[in-house]
Amino acid sequence: MRRSLRTAAVATAAAAALLMTGCSAGTSHDSGDTNQKVNLTYWAWAPNLDKVVDIWNKSHPNIHVTVNKQDGGDPAVTKLLTAIKAGSGAPDLMQVEYQKLPTLVAADALADLSKTDAVKTKSHFSDGVWSSVTLGGDALYAIPQDTGPMMFFYRADVFDKLGLSVPSTWDEYAADARAIHEADPSVYLGTFSSNDAGWFTGLSQQAGASWWGIDGDAWSVDIDKAPTQKVAKYWGGLVQEGVINNKPMYTPEWNTALNTGKEVGWLSAVWAPGVLSGNAGDTAGKWKVAPMPQWDASNPATGNWGGSSTGVTSQSKHVDAAVKFATWLNTDPEAVKALVTTAGIYPADNAAAKQALSKAPDFFSNQPDFYDVAAKVAKTVNPFTYGPNVNVAYSAYNDDFAKAAQSKQQSAFLDAVTQMQKTTTADLKKSGFTVK
């Protein structure tokens, strides 16, 4: 009996220990002494970023940065929000996508860097990008790292065969879509994807939309306005006509269609070569890139699809050291060059980008001026303000535009825009935000 009592006690202790380990994931902080060696942690998901950070660690023995690899933008944000709520466990530095910044700022997860040396990096970046990290106000929440200016990727061999010219306006894009689909009804110039809210945001941004706005102490939601309506009407028309596909991107079907030449164009961003080489490897050397088709050819513009920044979290005890590192990472020519070659990103720093990006990506070896096109396009990114509930608008996009794409009715595309506006506004009001 006594023995079983002891066994039970051991089991209880084991169970208790099991529970404790779950709760004791605290972090220890160094003291504020400037001469002491500082250790920084950095949550990021860009591939091979640790190799870029190694360069820093070799030349800066007093500020050691450890990269903690994350699964991607969404899971990292969820993890950070949990750590902020718990009061400990957040890293010093964090890779943040531009559209997630307001959500993190709203949760008080990021430090305001406007009183630090970080503001001196302003001259490195275009105004459109800088407005994403200031949220259009006086504060500064991150230093821009990479951007995803949208461009038009197309199968040059198919265009040549059909005698088509590269579309410079959306009217020409529609005409090309018709010609391609008529020549072979199983082939499309592109698809309208209800799965990729970021893609549609970029298209709307190009048309001049800015879905959120700050007006004094109130937010405005401007989704259901002329620019986005124009974009929705345009795509709804093409889908209704049947000359543009209505199936989502990033499905096994879509990958196959790109590889077998059933999908001969893609409105994507500067990072597209990486995706295409992965899922359409058989078509290497057949693609070319051009600036986006335009609404107003005399006033070229584009939107962003993707891109991220480096933020310092509100739990960091070493804001100045973190800023020093983030500034180096995103503006130092050697660091930017390493970001391009080992992490494969398109840097937000215009001058450093031009220096670092000379050779076209392998998949586009037939187009030596790939990065010249990109550099020209990157300067024309329209400004865009993200709000505190981007996730809500994006999931509303998934649901509402899935219905519209399925129905193949132009009017349903416009209804979807209205519904997105309603859902996004209602959510802000429900959370207690003042909405104009």
Binding site: A8, A9, T12, A218, N246, N389, V392, S431
Partner: protein
């Protein structure tokens, strides 16, 4: 002196034995239950009674507060047309899935239990094996098979001149999801029924044989009534699993335009909690779903209990 000491010690030991030991032995169970069942449930209920409020633009420190919300989250859940829609979709899914799945499982169990069956061990494993494949993996596999441009079945249908319907279209997607659950679920339910068939003493069958019963009559008049408790249990588990369907539709959603982010009740909870960052209303909705599941299970047991367990008393 020595004797009294010994008696005292014995009394102390027996006090320990009788009173403390049971608790000590229960302790690991109680600790784990409290930590992983009771505490999360209590926390969920607490969350469901709160909400977040914002001052000004909601940017920066101290602009957010968590306040008591009363039952407003519950009112919102009950009046949410999306929740009602998801419940109705899942009910249709259950009506398709449960009778088919249990019918097939029963048929296979009876066939395996019949004396004339050959290669019983192999068949049993083959039918059970899909249950070992995680739902996310099986949904990915089936997703490939459902997409016309990558599925070998559509190639086959084309070669035979059949115009196969698109299984991920809005009218058929419920069947497509039910099919995945069917594929994974038949084996498990079959094993439960087969095990309880094996527990039936063989004298009963011999007696029936002597009375001139055929195999079909034995199955229908003896085996099925005897394993009725197992049938009730599998039906109950299937109903609960149906209400909680999540992995299959979530995995299939990005492949088509047919599934919304609130297709099933749990998808709605997931979206509210992790996409919309509103754990408070998600907590209220999960409490509502849990209560609904409890009520349905209770009513179901009330209705079938007498018939299924009547003979055991």
């Amino acid at each position: 002196m020595i004797e009294t000491q010994g008696a005292g010690m014995r009394r102390r030991v027996s006090f320990r034995t009788r009173v403390l030991t049971p608790y000590a032995m229960l302790a690991p169970g109680i600790v784990l239950f409290v930590a992983f069942m009771a505490a999360p449930i209590v926390y969920t209920v607490i969350l469901s009674l709160q909400k977040r409020t914002v001052t000004g633009l909601g940017l920066g420190a101290n602009s957010h507060k968590t306040v008591f919300a009363g039952f407003s989250n519950y009112v919102a859940s009950f009046t949410d047309p999306e929740l009602l829609g998801s419940v109705l979709r899942v009910l249709l899914y259950g009506v398709i899935l449960i009778p088919t799945m249990l019918g097939l499982a029963l048929l296979f169990a009876l066939l395996l239990d019949s004396r004339r069956t050959r290669a019983g061990g192999f068949s049993r494993t083959a039918i059970f094996l899909p249950y070992a494949v995680p739902a996310v993996i099986s949904s990915l596999l089936w997703g490939f098979l459902y997409l016309p441009d990558v599925s070998p079945f559509y190639d086959l249908a084309d070669a035979l001149g059949i115009n196969a319907p698109e299984l991920l279209s809005p009218s058929l997607v419920t069947f497509a999801i039910a099919n995945i659950a069917l594929w994974g679920g038949v084996g498990f339910n079959m094993i439960v029924m087969y095990t309880s068939l094996k527990a039936v003493p063989s004298e009963i069958y011999e007696a029936a044989k002597l009375d001139g019963c055929s195999e079909v009559q034995i199955a229908w008049r003896i085996k099925i009534p005897i394993i009725a408790p197992a049938l009730v249990m599998t039906a109950l588990f299937s109903m609960i699993a149906t209400l909680q369907v999540f992995a299959e539709p979530t995995t299939l959603r990005p492949l088509s335009n047919s599934l919304s982010t609130s297709w099933s009740p749990l998808m709605l909870v997931y979206r509210d909690a992790f996409t919309r960052n509103d754990i408070y209303s998600a907590a209220a909705t999960s409490v509502v779903i849990a209560l609904g599941t409890f009520i349905i299970s209770f009513l179901f047991l009330r209705v079938v209990q007498k018939r299924a367990f009547g003979q055991e008393d």
